[in-house]
């Protein structure tokens, strides 16, 4: 078993786990300002209240795992995307602050302030994630040592902006479908269901645009698909996306949410396959790309980390299941919360 490949897959799992889990609470944040009144917004916040913090741990662990398994990629990405990473961290800190402090004081303007803060930071963080993915697809200029030699403006291409918008639409849809599961039945539930339709529509349009753009302008991402029977990933992805309106129509919120989770996992899979075997593709010279072999830690560390992951991941899944099971019911505002 090639541990480099194993770690590439494990990082994909962590990234997909992060996108599915933090994706819906970022999505709730993106939609937050559409909440009509104080009660609705409190319901939104309480729907993600007990879990958003744990969802962010997937990102932290992704960071730690990337550092341990592929330190060269960790250092190149974070130092190369310096300004973007700082903005992302700023958005994530600001978002946590908004969630935590909003409900602590009973004052209209205080809450308004944090409502706006929560929404903007959620949109900002999602946009930066999406643009990061876009830049990953395009590749960035690297020198022989594997250092980023471009500038911040290189990272703001139309393609990366398109990927950013796609991610915002995707998480908004995912968040709407999550709310569909969690808000109390009644008027608010009808409205949230409607958001599910709208965000799905926006996502579909951006998805098609991004696919066409990728096929025309980023041919270097195609060969992996041509070489392997990967049509299946794409077909599954299309099915998952197509299943969402069917479930909404048939009032099966659980299935709709699972479908959008699946769509996200498959998109992360497509992204990973497009990168393969690189972690960072050098757009200027393929010889400088950081492959899973060039960027990796020593074989011994990859092995030890794999053992740690084998022990740790079942525990992580167990905790996560316990927590989601504990908070499985629809939100009830009478109980304590935000």
């Amino acid at each position: 078993m090639d541990l480099h490949v194993v770690w590439f897959v494990l990082l994909g799992v962590l990234l997909a786990g992060y996108a599915v889990l933090d994706g819906f609470d970022l999505g709730v944040g993106i939609l937050h300002l559409f909440g009509k009144d104080e009660d609705e917004r409190r319901i939104f916040l309480n729907s993600i209240g007990p879990i958003w913090d744990g969802n962010e741990v997937w990102l932290v662990t992704f960071g730690g795992a990337l550092f341990a398994a592929f330190p060269e990629a960790y250092a190149t990405i974070l130092s190369g995307f310096y300004d973007a990473v700082m903005l992302l961290l700023f958005a994530l800190v600001f978002r946590a602050v908004s969630i935590e402090f909003r409900g602590k004081v009973v004052s209209k303007s205080w809450r308004k302030l944090w409502d706006v803060g929560f929404a903007l930071s959620s949109i900002g963080a999602t946009l930066i994630f999406g643009m990061g993915i876009g830049n990953g697809m395009r590749g960035i200029p690297l020198n022989e040592r594997g250092l980023f030699i471009g500038s911040f403006s290189d990272l703001l291409s139309p393609y990366s902006v398109l990927c950013g918008l796609l991610t915002v639409a995707m998480f908004a849809m995912h968040g709407a479908l999550y709310l569909n599961l969690k808000v109390p039945l009644g008027k608010i539930h009808d409205r949230v269901t409607e958001w599910g339709w709208h965000t799905w529509g926006a996502f579909l349009v951006l998805y098609i645009l991004t696919t066409v753009y990728t096929l025309i302008y980023l041919p270097h991402t195609i060969p992996t698909f041509a070489a392997l029977p990967l049509g299946i990933v794409i077909s599954l992805n299309v099915c998952a996306i197509a299943n969402i309106p069917r479930c909404l129509f048939m009032k099966r919120p659980g299935q709709a949410f699972i479908s959008s989770s699946l769509a996200i996992v498959l998109l992360v899979t497509l992204f990973s396959l497009a990168l393969w075997p690189n972690l960072i593709t050098a757009s200027n010279d393929p010889a400088n790309s950081l492959t899973i072999y060039r960027a990796a830690s020593s074989p011994g560390t990859l092995k030890r980390m794999f053992i740690i992951a084998l022990i740790g991941m079942p525990l992580v899944i167990a905790y996560t299941s316990v927590v989601y099971w504990t908070f499985r019911r629809r939100v009830d505002l009478k109980k304590e919360g935000y």
Partner: protein, 504 residues
């Protein structure tokens, strides 16, 4: 130029880590308090324990959230600002960080949600279990971070090797690309300073939690509010604080001896010990920046030699044996170290005095003493921060500290100029560790950004804390039954109460 990327990155790291580190010791310490309260509730089913646990949980939750938010920044900052360092140590340091994520963070954050939001959703038994898991998670987190940081201080279990590229040794511009790789995982984990430093840090965190509880309880007692609750909380925390203040003295002593063996330059800087030979212990003073003179100093002659070697005339390595370019800042090390020790000594005096009055039954009438306790939480914060400042400033100018070359008898080897010989190619200097592609403008912008949001965060945290403290715990629904539970009784205290208030 003073505003270079190295200086700015160090400033940024100091700012973000010091702000972050306000919260972990507090939450580690408080999680122990919560475990105690919930265990008592589980076995006695007395309302007062549940009320107390719910109250402290609120303060715990808001502090924990700020700790998590500021902690995310730390996870990525190694890569953004210290890319060369990340490439050099990723094999070692990254493993510890990833293990922390998998073993500690998921445990903490998962069960935190049950702890904070699960009161009415799960049974008391499961709630207690969740609280214990949060406490264990936060201790695990400390363990892995201390492993990583101690490895930087006293690296072990690794070797420095040339990286391979496509199966061949990797050169860029003719220079080999080197990095640290783990060869013995357990030697890396149990590196020479790890246990001493972990114990010291955890005790400091427990003290932080205890002084936080005592500060708020003392405030309630002074204001004659929630007195039953406050007496009980104070007594338990006082016992905890007394035990751990004394334990910290033992741990501190063990740490100083470890530092004298592993990082003599650091110890010399702590005590501004310039000329190698018998060493004195300064009670206070203000060293000159070059470290060869201490102004306004009051010292105990030979005391440092005695503490390290058990003999007042034994030689301790001084700064004169350290090459000038390898010396840490004597002013920062000396001041932060002495302030930390001073705070520790004051805590021993304060807690023993308070415990004496508590046993006599007169503690809660001594308003002056309660006021000192209200303010002492600031000293607990300062002690935690200063300890880390001295540990990290004492590591400079290295970010990965090179070990000393020792002879067969274990004595450090001197070169022809009389300086200690370090395995310099195994270390990494701080000035050589920053990101190659980041320029100072970017770092300045990020410092301003984090400075602004952390100031905001700090203000709101204090505001919310104050709000919660003003509101206080809800009144107990069942009247105190002093016959069954003497801790709830008012008036002079029989000795029996102390044994029951253990460790709250």
């Amino acid at each position: 130029m003073i505003l270079d990327v190295v200086f700015l990155s160090r400033l940024q790291f100091a700012l973000t880590i010091m702000f972050h580190y306000l919260f972990p010791p507090l939450t580690i310490g408080m999680s122990i308090v919560l475990v105690y309260l919930e265990t008592m509730y589980f076995f006695t089913r007395e309302q007062v324990y549940e009320t107390a646990a719910r109250f402290w949980t609120q303060l715990f939750a808001v502090s924990f959230a700020v700790g998590v938010a500021t902690g995310i920044v730390m996870e990525f900052q190694f890569g953004t600002n210290w890319a060369i360092y990340s490439r050099f140590v990723g094999d070692v340091f990254g493993s510890a960080l990833a293990a922390e994520g998998i073993f500690a963070f998921f445990l903490e954050s998962g069960f935190l949600s049950v702890l904070v939001f699960g009161w009415d959703k799960v049974s008391a038994g499961f709630h207690l279990f969740a609280t214990i898991m949060v406490a264990i998670g936060s201790v695990f987190s400390a363990v892995w971070i201390l492993i990583a940081n101690s490895w930087q201080q006293t690296p072990a279990g690794h070797r420095i090797v040339q990286m391979m590229r496509d199966g061949k040794p990797w050169f860029v511009d003719g220079k080999p690309i080197m990095r640290a790789e783990v060869v013995d995982f357990w030697a890396m984990v149990f590196n020479p300073s790890m246990i001493d430093r972990l114990v010291h840090t955890l005790i400091a965190a427990f003290l932080m939690g205890a002084f936080f509880v005592m500060s708020i309880s003392a405030f309630y007692l002074l204001k004659k509010r929630h007195e039953e609750f406050a007496r009980r909380s104070f007594t338990g925390a006082l016992l905890l604080a007394t035990i751990f203040s004394l334990a910290q003295l033992v741990s501190g002593h063990s740490n100083a001896r470890m530092v004298s063996r592993e990082q003599p330059a650091k110890l010399a800087a702590f005590e501004a010990h310039y000329v190698s030979g018998p060493a004195d212990l300064y009670l206070f003073g203000l060293p000159t920046p070059d470290g060869n003179k201490v102004n306004f100093g009051v010292k105990i002659p030979g005391a440092l030699s005695f503490l390290i070697h058990g003999n007042r005339s034994e030689s301790v390595i001084g700064l004169d044996r350290i090459h000038p370019q390898d010396r840490p800042s004597i002013l920062i090390c000396f001041s932060s170290y002495h302030l930390m020790v001073g705070i520790g000594m004051f805590f021993i005096f304060l807690t023993c005095l308070a415990l004496y009055f508590r046993i006599r039954g007169s503690l809660f009438e001594k308003r002056w003493l309660l006021w000192i306790f209200v303010g002492s939480v600031v000293l607990a914060v300062a002690g935690n921060q200063l300890g880390w400042v001295s540990a990290e400033a004492g590591r400079q100018p290295w970010t990965v500290y090179p070990s000393l070359v020792k002879d067969a008898s274990g004595q450090p080897v001197l070169d022809k100029d009389g300086f200690l010989v370090a395995k310099a190619d195994e270390g990494l200097r701080t000035k050589d560790a920053v990101s190659e592609v980041v320029h100072s403008g970017q770092v300045v912008r990020s410092i301003l950004m984090f400075g602004a949001i952390y100031a905001l965060l700090g203000i709101f945290w204090i505001y919310v804390l104050n709000h919660k403290i003003e509101k206080g715990p809800p009144p107990f629904s069942s009247p105190p039954d002093s016959a069954r539970n003497p801790l709830l009784a008012t008036g002079p205290t029989p000795r029996k109460r102390l044994s029951e208030g253990d460790e709250s």
